[in-house]
């Protein structure tokens, strides 16, 4: 839109209709493409720089240094794949991967299912809907550290759920996930779900509310049960909302860190290790930068392997879906 007055060769050719007699009049020139939408382009420059320097630049820097033997300080003495061999030979890392798989799968499934169920229940025109929505969304306003501490206490056998149930008379009741090698990850999962499902519910509720009332009327006239309408008609219609939820949940899963720190610090032993925790510990506890970089590069690769084909299918093929 900017009227620059700069003539370019393409601009002169852009007015073939001008005849010789009009040569004395100023000829309207097509502005150079470079200066079109100039204000928006200037406004975008900081973000473009951020993306290039911080995201792309630092990612490359990290990947490069994962092939070195950097300890406390980064240095460029390449050792090939040595850091990766160490990484995959490390029990802690293997436990982290296993934990992430369990936590990720359960968290994704339960967040979507519980979030949608809550949204569907709230959608049935209940009383005090706003109150319930606020209560369910409230944990989302807390930091992971607070959530972790709260659930550490709730799950503590000395004064948490176990204590309460035992006081009710069930003397042999045992519920102590945080001190069990096997179940500790589910203790973290409960806290994660408590914090995260509220947001998923709100997104889903917004999606459900956006659906034309007549769809419901039509399905009632046809005698389709409510649950079937939700599953077969409503869920496919709120697909974009579900995609958004999946992306949000997935990014939460990959970066889960503070919740583990606050609840178990990776314990008991190493049984609740997570990849992000492993990265932080190697980089700052062990002063082994290259090993941390190798682990974070593996996380990047894993995310890329899942994300790129999916993003291509979801957004690249949009035109063909009509």
């Amino acid at each position: 839109m900017a009227d620059t007055g700069i003539s370019s060769s393409s601009g002169a050719r852009g007015a073939p209709g001008s005849v010789a007699t009009q040569a004395t009049l100023p000829i309207a020139r097509k502005p150079s493409r470079l200066f079109r939408n100039l204000a928006s382009k200037i406004a975008l420059v900081p973000m473009i720089l951020t993306v290039l320097v911080i995201f792309v630049g630092c990612t490359i820097w990290t990947v490069v240094h994962s092939f070195t033997s950097s300890k406390l300080l980064p240095k460029l003495d390449f050792v090939g794949l040595a850091q990766y061999e160490r990484l995959w030979g490390n029990d802690r890392w293997m436990v982290s991967i296993k934990n992430l798989a369990v936590y990720g799968t359960c968290s994704m499934i339960f967040s979507l299912v519980i979030g949608f169920t809550l949204a569907a229940l709230l959608d049935r025109k209940i009383r005090f809907e706003n109150t319930f929505r606020t209560i369910i969304l409230y944990p989302f306003a807390l930091s992971f550290i607070v959530t972790g501490l709260v659930w550490q206490w709730i799950l503590n056998p000395d004064f948490g759920i176990e204590k309460v149930v035992r006081d009710l008379g069930f003397e042999s009741f045992v519920f102590d996930p945080l001190h069990s090698d096997q179940f500790v990850i589910y203790g973290i999962l409960i806290a994660g779900l408590w914090q995260g499902t509220g947001l998923v519910m709100c997104l889903m509720l917004a999606g459900i509310r956006g659906i034309d009332e007549d769809i419901w009327k039509a399905s009632r006239i046809e005698g389709i049960p409510v649950w079937k309408t939700y599953v077969q008609i409503i869920i496919p219609m709120i697909r974009p909302v579900i995609v958004t939820s999946v992306v949000l949940i997935a990014s939460g899963i990959v970066k889960v860190y503070d919740l583990v720190v606050a609840q178990t610090s990776g314990g008991p032993g190493t049984s609740s290790q997570m990849p992000a925790l492993y990265v932080m510990d190697r980089m700052f506890k062990d002063q082994n930068l290259a090993q941390g970089f190798a682990a974070s590069t593996m996380m990047l690769v894993a995310v890329a392997i899942i994300l790129i084909p999916w993003a291509y299918l979801e957004f690249g093929g949009k035109k063909s879906r009509g």
């Binding site: 007549d214 009632r220 006239i221 046809e222 049960p225």
Partner: protein, 365 residues
Amino acid sequence: MNTMTAVNTESSISIRDLTLNFGAVQVLKRMDLEVAPGEFIVLLGPSGCGKSTLLNCIAGLLDITDGQIWIKGKNVTWAEPSERGIGMVFQSYALYPQMTVRGNMSFGLKNQKMPQAEIDARVARAAEILQIQPLLDRKPGALSGGQRQRVAIGRALVRDVDVFLFDEPLSNLDAKLRSELRVEIKRLHNKLNNTMVYVTHDQIEALTLADRIAVMRGGVIQQLDEPQTIYNRPANLFVAGFIGSPSMNFIHGAVKGGKFYAEGIVVDLAGYEGGALIDRPKAILGLRPEHLTVTNTAVAGKTIAATVEIDENLGADSLLWLKAGDNQISVRIPVEDRLNAGTSVHLEVDMSKASIFDAETEARV
């Protein structure tokens, strides 16, 4: 209108004493309506008059406060919508976007566990009637508005029901498609001979489609009659003003000794088709634009003197806006008889087609 016990089993739909309250607001007021089998009833009225609400009550999508609804001799007042033997078509089409046309039409039947062969036969028949066979494997997103509404009608058709309910089905379409589909719905009704209840705010749709029109206002049926009667003998001032475009001319005055007096106007009411013309200090004379003729000669008691203000060419005919005293009057004239502004003319009144309303009760005399 009806005694409490007598249920007319002849009726396809029978609504007795229906009342619906939303909180403290009474949306439908003690309404009675009998629809004969195969009849095409149009519920017509301005927005907020309760016409769609009444349709939703018939469909069972709204729980009523009081009264009864009978469909085909069965009391369905508290029956589920799916058990009432109705099909419904919505303004927004309400198609399931992720299913093909075939899927949309067969989803409800599949849900009833109907054999596949029967489903296929019904879908094929409906598709043939509505001429949508080539679209069966497409999704609603790939269809035009008119095609979508055809599919929505098809979805009601496969249910093989006796009663069809239409909730402003043509309102989302452009003018050309609207008139096409209007004819199509009429043709469909002639072919299937089902009972149809059709909600609209468009008087053209009402007049062209209906066997009987129910004109509604404020949750009350103002008049329930054949289109021609509604047009020529509107029961009250509201119906008279609502039906007809341009609207009926209303002249405020008084009836005295068989004559109508207004400022500068005296009209002899001989030949009026209606009730006894007792003297009324406040009355309204209603004249449709097409029931007035422009002449050059004044006849005492038969004509109204007026001055031309604006002449609107409508293509097929022309609309003349005149001033008679304080009253604005519109007259429909042939396009070749157009007149210039400022011309003084006389308007001949066809008293057999005029309406007189009592200004107090607003009812037709």
